[in-house]
Structures are given as structure tokens and as C-alpha cells.
């Protein structure tokens, strides 16, 4: 815990000024942009807001975004558990390197992530001609959105689990093993209960990023109206169409999601500290 137990003292001028400066930065730079989304979205009243949200194109974009999350988040949960189990329960040559490689997508910028997939599966790409010969088109379809979202968010769950499982050590699992439990029994009855909050937190972060990803998806989606527009792309489309109310309505859905993400983070951190 931080140094909370320091005795109460009279605040100096410097302290008050520093606190005010920090609060002002947070308010001006972070809180106002968040507030402006909701204020603009509801500016013309609840009725207009609802009609904007329920426009077919926006509803379709919401559906596509939810579908992408439903596909991508479970896959990356599976990958995260496997990778975390591997690097925290065994020692093997190249383990440190593997941990660094797992984190690579974090440092690849969104546009670059999209471009890499274009040069793998696109018509100009490595597998492009072969895919074309088979009559398969991946780029500019929902499959490309799934794939690039998998890339961008692959480290999220693993990164939450690895430090925790490292700290917990493998004693619980070994005890279960000596009692005759199988690998999957150990995973289900011992490991998962131990890591559930970190797992949930990682999944929530992963979900937030999948639903909000813009750059990578905009490269590979082809932005076919009514087909491959995810919600963030739809916001840009509406904004460029001078449909400000529609853009803010769509944005308010994602802004609400981010508030839920932050609330979940606060709750889960509280739980983790509580035990």
C-alpha cells in the first residue's frame, strides 16, 4: 500500500498548487473530452438519440462489433491461458525470448498491423495468389477483421496472467497432481479459480480493444457500407458525412463501454487487493 499512514499535516502552498494542477489536467484533458461525447449525443433529445442509434447502418455496425468480440476474445483467452501456463510452469531455453515475443503486438502500431495482414492474404500478398486460385477472399471481409483483431489483442490476457501465475508459483498444481488429478482437472479446479479475477480483467481489456480497434481494422475491412463497417469505422463514416448527431450517438455506445471497462477495473483491483 502507498504511504497512506503518514500523519496528517497542514498542506503547504506547494502541495495545494500541485494537487490543483493535477486535478485541472485531469479535468481539462481527460474528463471534458469524455463528457462532450455524451453531451453532444443527447443534445437533440432522447428521441433523436434513439433514432440515430437505431439507424440500420449503425445497428449493423454494433452487431458486427459484438460478433467480432465474441469470436476474438474467447480465442485470445485460450491463447493467454496456454501461453501463461507455458512460461510460468516450466523452465526451458528461449522462455524469456518467448515472453518478449508474446508482447510484440503491443508495440506494432495499428496501421502497420493492418498492412502486415494485407501483405499476407491480400491480392499483392504472400498467400494472395494461392488464395485466389482456390477462390477464397479473406481481405476486405469479416474474416480479415477477425484475424487482425486477434493479432492486435493477442497479448492482453497473457500479460495479465503471467505476473500473477509467476507470483503464485506451481505448488497448488503440484499438490493436485500428487493427489492424482489430470491436467485438465488441475486447470479447471486449481488454476482457473486462482487466476479468475486476473483472467476476467484481461478479457475485459481485450474486449475493449477489440471493440474499439480502428486503424488495423480500417486497413483490412475495405469499409464496405453495411457489410464490413465496425462501430469505430461507422463513427468516422458518419463524421465525414457531416452526420454529427449520428457520429456522437455511435461514439456514445463505445464511450459507455469504456466506462464499464474502467468500473470493472476498479472493482477487480479492489477484489484482488482484498484477497
Amino acid at each position: 500500500m502507498p504511504t497512506a499512514a503518514r500523519p496528517r499535516h497542514n498542506r503547504g502552498i506547494a502541495e495545494i498548487l500541485l494537487i490543483l494542477a493535477a486535478l485541472a489536467t485531469g479535468a481539462v484533458f481527460l474528463a471534458v473530452p469524455l463528457a462532450v461525447i455524451f453531451i453532444q449525443a443527447f443534445k437533440a433529445g432522447l428521441g433523436v438519440y434513439l433514432s440515430k442509434i437505431t439507424e440500420p447502418a449503425t445497428l449493423h455496425a454494433i452487431g458486427l462489433t459484438v460478433l467480432t468480440a465474441l469470436v476474438v476474445v474467447p480465442v485470445n483467452i485460450g491463447f493467454g491461458i496456454a501461453a501463461a501456463w507455458l512460461v510460468t510452469r516450466y523452465r526451458f531455453p528461449g522462455r524469456k525470448l518467448l515472453m518478449a515475443v508474446i508482447d510484440i503486438p503491443f508495440s506494432v502500431s495499428p496501421i502497420v498491423a493492418g498492412v502486415t495482414y494485407l501483405f499476407l492474404y491480400g491480392a499483392q500478398g504472400l498467400f494472395g495468389p494461392a488464395l485466389e486460385a482456390m477462390g477464397l477472399q479473406l481481405m476486405f471481409t469479416i474474416w480479415a477483421i477477425f484475424l487482425v483483431s486477434l493479432f492486435v489483442t493477442s497479448p492482453f490476457v497473457a500479460r495479465e496472467l503471467i505476473p500473477l501465475m509467476q507470483q503464485q508459483g506451481g505448488e497448488d498444481e503440484e499438490a493436485a497432481l500428487s493427489l492424482g488429478a489430470s491436467g485438465f482437472q488441475i486447470l479447471w479446479h486449481v488454476t482457473l479459480p486462482n487466476i479468475r479475477w486476473a483472467l476476467l480483467y484481461g478479457a475485459i481489456l481485450c474486449n475493449a480493444r477489440v471493440m474499439g480497434e480502428f486503424g488495423a481494422v480500417s486497413v483490412v475491412s475495405g469499409s464496405v457500407r453495411g457489410q464490413t463497417m465496425t462501430l469505430p469505422l461507422q463513427i468516422e463514416l458518419l463524421f465525414n458525412d457531416y452526420n454529427a448527431l449520428g457520429a456522437f450517438a455511435a461514439a456514445s455506445v463505445l464511450a459507455l463501454l469504456s466506462l464499464v471497462t474502467l468500473a470493472a477495473k476498479a472493482l477487480l483491483e479492489h477484489r484482488r487487493h482484498a484477497g
Binding site: P2, A22, G26, V36, I102, V108, V115, F119, L254
Partner: protein
């Protein structure tokens, strides 16, 4: 560290083969293969073509704009990040937990939403723009707007890097320094600052790396004029739209290499931080 060395020696637990297989195949297919495909494409250009693309006037302008605005954003985040981390750790005040939670907002808020919000408040008729533009400070559709968008999306890095180090600092060293007659400023300059410096630089490097690659928030506010407010990410996007795939590959490779260099720097700094922590 309580890293157990006992299960390390033998592969006691089942699942080594399975998790190794799943992890390696997944990384190979989802992460490595696309990166290799792009590098392959760039390599097929040859050095002369590559050089001609990345040194074309429009590319150079995009690099200059991206680097200067990212530097501005990082400088802003270095100062405000240090300030916020310091205040969050050292002081108790109303609104502290709210501020702490707000710091994570840029990671949770989709970049397109951030861009839309920022261009709205900084536009000529926006909440901030209506005061700034008459004063001669043009943010939206100007380089400053790019810097603002970058600064917003990379806000958490410096705060979250410095905060845990400040929290772990024991009060005893400071008290010892004070009892030896050091002034407050001397305590900060001689005791606190050297301790947080590696994490401060690491956080700033992460913020800089993120700013260089930022796209979603920037395209809304930048105005996107070639040679003036066009960042590298956007130029890549435009080249793709023009079916100029070699140019897109070359520029994306430059961004990728820059990201890896910065990642390497951050990791080296973290090792430095650990060594510092061990010495104490």
C-alpha cells in the same frame, strides 16, 4: 521475487507439449507470419527503391511532422504524467480516486471516439477552440491538434510507470536525508529523482512509441493535408488507397523498425531499473 525454482528443473506438471504447441503455432500464424510477409514485401523492393520511397519529399515531411508532434506530446505527458503520479502517491485529497481512474481512460476509450471528442472541443466553435483560436492558437486541423491527440492517447504511460516506483520508495531514506539537514528540494533532486528516473524515461519512451504509431485519434483532428498535417500512418493508408503497395510496405517497415528500437530501449531501461532496485 518468489519465482519458484523447484518446478523449474523438471517438467512435473502435464501440458508442456500442449501449451508449447498451442503457443508457438498461434504466435507463428497470427503474429509472426504477417510480419514476415510485410518484411518480405519490403525486401523485394531492393534498397534503391526503398530509399527513394522513404526519402521522397512527402515521406520526409510525414516523418518530420510525426516525430515533432510525437515529441511535443511526449514532453507534455512527461511533465503532466510526473505531476499526476506524484500527486496520486504523495497526497490524499478529494477526487483522488477519480483522478486515478481517469488516468486509464485513454486506454479504455476507442481512439476514434477520442478523436471525435477532441476535434469537437478544439474546433473553432468548440468549448476550448472558441477561446484558443481568437488568441491565435489553432489546434484542430493543425500540427498542434496532432500533438493533442497523441498526448491524450498516451497519457497513462508515464503515470503508470512512475507511480509504482514512487509507491515503493521507503520513507526512511528520505527521512534520513532530512535528518541530515537536506532541504526538501535536495531530497527530491538527490534521493527521489535518481530512483524514479529509469521508470520515468521508460514511460516517456513508451508514450513516444505509442504517439508515433497513433492513427485513429489523429485522423479526426489533423486535417490531413499533405506536407503539413499528414502523419506517417495516414500516408501509409493513402498509399494503400492509391494501390501504391511498395510505398505502403516501405513506410510501414520504417514504423515497425522504429517501434522495435523503442521497445528495445524500454526493456534496457527496465533492466536498469531492476539493477537500481537491487542495489538499494
Amino acid at each position: 521475487m518468489s519465482a519458484p525454482s523447484r518446478p523449474a528443473r523438471r517438467h512435473l506438471l502435464p501440458g508442456f507439449g500442449l501449451t508449447l504447441g498451442v503457443t508457438l503455432v498461434y504466435i507463428a500464424v497470427i503474429v509472426a507470419l504477417p510480419l514476415v510477409a510485410m518484411l518480405f514485401k519490403t525486401a523485394s523492393l531492393g534498397w534503391n527503391d526503398f530509399w527513394a520511397i522513404v526519402t521522397s519529399p512527402r515521406s520526409l515531411a510525414a516523418f518530420r511532422i510525426t516525430l515533432t508532434t510525437a515529441a511535443m506530446a511526449t514532453a507534455f505527458n512527461a511533465v503532466t504524467g510526473l505531476l499526476i503520479a506524484w500527486v496520486l502517491v504523495r497526497y490524499r485529497f478529494p477526487g483522488r480516486r477519480l483522478l486515478d481512474g481517469l488516468v486509464d481512460l485513454p486506454f479504455a476509450l476507442p481512439t476514434a471516439v477520442a478523436g471525435l471528442a477532441l476535434v469537437t472541443v478544439f474546433a473553432r466553435n468548440g468549448w476550448f477552440g472558441q477561446f484558443l483560436e481568437p488568441a491565435g492558437i489553432k489546434v484542430a486541423y493543425a500540427p498542434l491538434g496532432i500533438a493533442v491527440a497523441m498526448a491524450f492517447t498516451s497519457t497513462p504511460f508515464v503515470v503508470r510507470s512512475v507511480q509504482p516506483v514512487l509507491e515503493e520508495m521507503q520513507g526512511e531514506i528520505e527521512e534520513a536525508a532530512r535528518s541530515l539537514g537536506a532541504t526538501r528540494w535536495q531530497v527530491f533532486a538527490r534521493v527521489i529523482w535518481p530512483t524514479i528516473l529509469p521508470s520515468f524515461i521508460a514511460g516517456s519512451t513508451l508514450a513516444f512509441a505509442r504517439s508515433i504509431g497513433e492513427f485513429g485519434a489523429v485522423v479526426f483532428i489533423a486535417g490531413n493535408l499533405p506536407m503539413e498535417t499528414e502523419i506517417v500512418s495516414l500516408l501509409i493508408f493513402i498509399r494503400l488507397d492509391e494501390y501504391d503497395y511498395p510505398a505502403a510496405a516501405a513506410l510501414a517497415t520504417v514504423l515497425l523498425v522504429a517501434a522495435f528500437v523503442l521497445l528495445f530501449v524500454t526493456n534496457a531501461l527496465q533492466l536498469w531499473q531492476l539493477r537500481y532496485a537491487d542495489r538499494r
